[in-house]
Each structure stands twice: as structure tokens, then as C-alpha cells.
Symmetry: C2
Subunit: 311 residues, 2 copies
Amino acid sequence: MAASDLGLPQVVPSDLPSRVTIWEVGARDGLQNEQTVVPVDVKVEFLARLADAGLTTLEATSFVHPKWVPQLADAADVLAALSPVDGVRYPVLVPNEKGLDRALAAGVRHIAIFGSATETFAKRNLNRSLDEQYAMFEPVVTRATAEGLAVRAYVSMCWGDPWEGPVDPAQVAAVATRLMSMGCTELSLGDTIGTATPGHVQAVLTAVTRSVPISAVAVHFHDTYGQALANTLTALRAGVTTVDSSAGGLGGCPYAESATGNLATEDLVWMLDGLGVRTGVDLARLADTSAWMSTQLGRPSPSRVVRALRG
Amino acid sequence: MAASDLGLPQVVPSDLPSRVTIWEVGARDGLQNEQTVVPVDVKVEFLARLADAGLTTLEATSFVHPKWVPQLADAADVLAALSPVDGVRYPVLVPNEKGLDRALAAGVRHIAIFGSATETFAKRNLNRSLDEQYAMFEPVVTRATAEGLAVRAYVSMCWGDPWEGPVDPAQVAAVATRLMSMGCTELSLGDTIGTATPGHVQAVLTAVTRSVPISAVAVHFHDTYGQALANTLTALRAGVTTVDSSAGGLGGCPYAESATGNLATEDLVWMLDGLGVRTGVDLARLADTSAWMSTQLGRPSPSRVVRALRG
């Protein structure tokens, strides 16, 4: 029984959007730390199946240097091999100008850069200060915009930071404002370590939307502490209409069995189906896809819905 | 870093209660389907540790016939061996008059009966119609009340039923009203198969509270589809102040590794701590207790917080 088969009158609660766009990150964020080598044809089939399940935004791969993310060293091959589906966007991650060159050469029309909300994580992840991160991004955004590309900016550590602890909403708002003023078209606010709770989610969204329109704000929650769906519900009530998630809950730490990382797309769709919020996703097809991908990776999906339906 | 260490001003959102009572079911609902035999002294230590972690309502055991729940055949021994902590309640499950006799003989002051919201589950679980379930409960509730005991009524399948599918909120309200009119002091509305989503949660609570005061309504969510915490947040916003959960997420299907059943108390406390909603629970002590219990049972806790903090 799917939540959508409740048989009860489906009236979307008045404080929720009638439609949500799911930004599916499974093929990039989900696979990037994967130790099992996933061949190009499996990645391409994964993307095709995700599109077939009704997802319309598929983050396809990353042009980060292969030294850092060997799993996605085949980015150009994946993009060359996939058959784009009408109405589906295939954004890719781009860290810097060299990455942008590679993305443009591959015909990419939508990129995502990734920055930090905190000084410490900028230093740890990018080996840069916040000012240096902006200096790195500025020419990428300017050139991409001139080429007519849409540019999403991921912002990591928007709630908790492993070194700094809790993050001040005003700090997140300052970083968000700076990235938007650079020309980014959309922000994805990330709870990278999964510590956020609903009140803190509301506080960050309130601070950010003082200068950024809510329509340009997506949320990216990790389920490390089981909070991702409650936080997502809170963000939807605050007016957010784009939610990042990963098919089957792929991602997280590959060293711990069934470690929880990204919010599983299936768990999100189950809730939205039950609420009558449209996503365009066929849950059964999606769960089949994640079950198939689990077989490719040789371990069970961390998604509770996938385990319940296909376990 | 605990959510409570956010360092941000903690203001409970105005639509949430300032304090929540956690009805801890780990020692009963968590253990009842457990295949590993748990000795009396481990159960007693578990209860003592839960009280030490600040939980004030510990469902201790069950006087269901040992043929059905062999794991809890030692109910009287557990109650005789535990040292009650001041301010802590130790309710027990009682199915019928015979169970009530055993509970009274053990000095119990708080019982819980368990009924069904649907005809089919009443038939499957109790081998009775709904009318026959009321006839079984009536003398139990009458006698218990005369003895000065508090009586909670669990209502199973309040949202989805494996045979009937979605459950009409009006049907749940009818069962709830009947149980309260019998003299029960509190209801626990159970999403036994874990299919509920927030809009349906709201609909059932709206229907039930037309005749039952919200202060007498507790919620009992299962995390089978990952929805338990989002549903809990919705119930809190509707005015519910008692939430059932199980330390370490104990319960669910013992045959599937890390199968998800009850909402994990740790995942609930993480959210409530972050929201500034008081529970009286020390999360670190609780996670230690669940990690210890996992060792006793020989498998990892399904709680995401326990895995993140103690994994």
C-alpha cells in the first residue's frame, strides 16, 4: 500500500506547496565517496532509470579533479554516453574554472559550485578562507552566466560544523547573500553533518530570506541523526519548493554498513505522496531503481521505504 | 556536539509545547518480539538505566499469556526485582481479567490495555470483533478503575491496516470515544505499520479530539517508512504532549537486521533538545544505555542518533 493509495480525500495542507521539485543527487553526491568502482554504463543506466521514474533534475556527475573524487573521474564519458530525456535537467558539479572548461566542453547547461558557510570548513575542504572561496567562484559564475548557464551554489555546514559547532543563521545569510550577488541562480543550504533540528531550520531560512527570495532556496538535509524529514517538512512550511535527496539514501559514509547520509528520495516521496504534494515521481519505479543500484553496490539501501517495499 | 549545545538562543516555537512526556516502551514493546532470551537481571538493569537517564514513564513488561509472548513470561519476576525510582511510573500491559489479576498481585498501579481501530486487526490479533474487544476490556477497566489504577488504552492501526488499507479518521474516533467512555484515562494512537504521513496524522487527531481531550491523547509512531519524526512533529503542533518511543529504536521485526520499528527515543530527544522542548532526558546517558543493550542483544541499534554518537 502506497501512501498515495490512502483512499482519503487528498487535500494538501494549506501551509504546504502543492508541488515540490526534487533535486536528485544520487548519481553525484550519492556515488562520489563510493569505494566500489561503478562503471560508466551502470551510471548511465542509473540516470536513465531515475528519469524514467519521473525525476526531472538529475545531478549527473562532478568535474572536481579526479585525484579528489576518483569515482567520478569518468564525468565526460558519462555525459557523452547518456541519452538526455526531454524536460530533464542534468546539472554537474564544478569546483573552479578548470572544471568549468571541462563542463562546457561536455555541453553542460547547468552547473553547481560548492562553498562553505564557515571559515573552518572552507579551510578544510577548499584550503581557502571565505574571501578566497568567493575569489575562486567569481570568475566561474561570471563566465558560466555569460555562456547562459544556470548556476546553483551549494552552501555546506549551514547548521552545524564539526569544528565550529553550531552555525549562526546570520553567518549563513551573509554567505548566501554574497553568492547570490555574484550571479548564482539558486542556493542549496546543506546540513552536511545532519545535526539540524526544525527550530534551527526555521531560524536559518528566516535569516537567509531577508535578502534571498525563497523561490531561489533549496534545502539539503542529511539523515545522520534521523532529522532530515522533520526538517524538510519545516522547510516546506516556510515556503521552500526545491528539496535535495538521493535515491535509496545513497551517500554518507561508505565505511559503515548502511550509514545514513543523504535524505532518501523514497522517504521524501512517501511523505509528499501522503500529503498530496505533487512531485511527478513514481515511487514503485524509483524503489525498483534503488533496489537495483543496491545490488550493483553490494549492500542494502539505507532508505527505510526501499527496505520496507523491496527488502 | 548535541543539538542542545547549539549555543543559539533556545526559544520553543510558539506552536509547540514547552514540555513533552516520553512514554518509554523499550522494555516491553521493544523486547516482546526479541528472539534472544533477555535475563531478568538485564531487564531490571535496563529499566534502572532508563530511569537514571531521566525517563519518568517506563512501560516495564506485559501480562499477556507467556504462550504468546515468551520473552515477557518473567513479568512478575522483573517487577519483584526492580527498585522503583521516586517519580517514575512503571505501567504494564494487561490483555484481560486474568492479566489484571497477575498485575494486581505484582503491585502494579498503572496498566495499559491494547485494542484495535479496525475489525480485521481485532480479528487477527485478538480473535474478536470490535464489539467483542470492548466486552473483553470493559470488566478490566471497571475493576482497575475501582482499584484506583490509571488505565491507558493502546489503539493499533489508527492510520493504515495491512488488510484494510487506509483507516478512516472517523473510525478511529469512534473506537477512541468508546474506550474513553469505558473509563480509560489515556489513549495511545498507534501507527502500527508505519505508513502514516503528516496530513493523515492531523486528520486523525482532529477527528479524535472532537470527543477526547488532547491532553489524554498520546501518539505511537513506527519508523518503518522513515516518517515517525515528521509525524511526531505534526502531532506536537496539534497539541499532543505525550509521545511513545523506544530506547535505541528497539522493536520492529527481529528477523531483519536493523529493521526499523518503534521511533527511537534518542532520535526524538535529539529533535526536542534542538527545539528547546524539555523532556528531562539526558541524551548521552540514554545513548550509552542503548549501546549497552545492543551489546546484550548482539546487534546494532536501529537508532540513527545512537549509531552517530556510539557507532
